[in-house]
Symmetry: C2
Subunit: 212 residues, 2 copies
């Protein structure tokens, strides 16, 4: 949690901590603002001064969840390093952070996923922003001779598809043991080698014909 | 459903259809053998003549679910065709079947996933068998100069990791729109090109060093 700048911020953070406790104990779906007011020893009208809906609360909690992840991505995009390593670290650093969060409290992690499903419109902006950062790294890879002949959007989709076990937190819960840094490195190098500019001489051409 | 060979088989199939109806209406987790007996207009002792536990029922239902998928895999493994196309079809044919099942009845599909989670020990044998078929195709790919320097087990894991959106039915429910045959073909060709024998001359070598 960041250092609060005002009393209002401090109280909001305190309320979010109470909400964490509730969702850890009984899941993210069923609790209401009334439950939250009771657990925080506040009147409902007082609670509404800080969060005017469960959506607003979910948005603030998502902001906390994503802030460290965004710092990682923002720093990395600006760093000067070979694009191959940058793409690897883009996934590896977030993988390490998400795995640590999962290991610290698997039930809370799962409850956050439920909260995200329930308020997907709130989450979507953050997901899109992650895609935006990834697109800027992939554009750099394209300038370096990878993914020739594909549009950037198609490259983002393709990489997202192959990287699911390393970036989709719900899938990570299913297969945490498979999503190692070692395997991540192998997947990244497979994608880049498989999609480098001279792939026309490669053994298999990506035919876009669809077999029945 | 296959043609029943005996009256016992016919009755088992009838009971499984009643079970389908129950899980479609109220999910796979909560129903009991008592509920099933009532819905099938049978005494509980009569029901137990056909399925002696919910596990036995889940096993029979999983057998139905997997039988067409296994026929696809078994036929394909024995077919004589280039290994690149065989690997593509191994995923494409099952993708088409699973997507059709999902489109036909998304809620039933989701309930089957829950049933599988609840009886994972039953499912695991089928998952292992699919890995076994895939391993035989990947071994053929290795004989053709792909995946040099890796053990077969590592290749199976690597391919499983990158193919999740095309074979993990739970993930497919989340991203059905991304798991197209066109993208599948691109992913398969990326994996094979990225992992072909002459990748030592490739732009990125798969370093197994793990960055912090």
């Amino acid at each position: 949690m960041p250092r609060p700048e005002t009393d209002i911020d401090a109280k909001r953070i305190e309320i979010m901590e109470v909400a964490d406790k509730i969702i850890r104990e009984r899941g993210a779906i069923s609790f209401t603002m009334t439950d939250l007011a009771a657990a925080a020893n506040m009147s409902q009208s007082n609670l509404y001064r800080f969060f005017d809906s469960k959506d607003a609360l979910a948005e603030a909690m998502a902001g906390e969840w994503f802030s460290d992840l965004h710092k990682i991505m923002e720093d990395l995009v600006q760093t000067d390093m070979p694009v191959e390593e940058k793409l690897y670290l883009f996934f590896a650093k977030r993988l390490v952070l998400k795995r640590a969060r999962y290991d610290e409290d698997p039930e809370l992690f799962e409850s956050y996923m439920e909260l995200g499903d329930e308020h997907f419109e709130v989450i979507k902006g953050y997901v899109d922003l992650a895609d935006h950062y990834m697109a800027s790294i992939l554009a750099e890879a394209m300038e370096n001779g990878y993914f020739e002949g594909l549009e950037l959007d198609a490259v983002v989709s393709l990489v997202n598809t192959m990287m699911q076990p390393f970036c989709n937190p719900k899938l990570m819960m299913q297969m945490m043991h498979l999503a190692t840094e070692e395997r991540l490195r192998l997947v990244i190098s497979t994608i880049l080698n498989g999609m480098r500019a001279d792939r026309d001489q490669a053994a298999v051409k990506p035919e876009l014909h669809i077999a029945g």
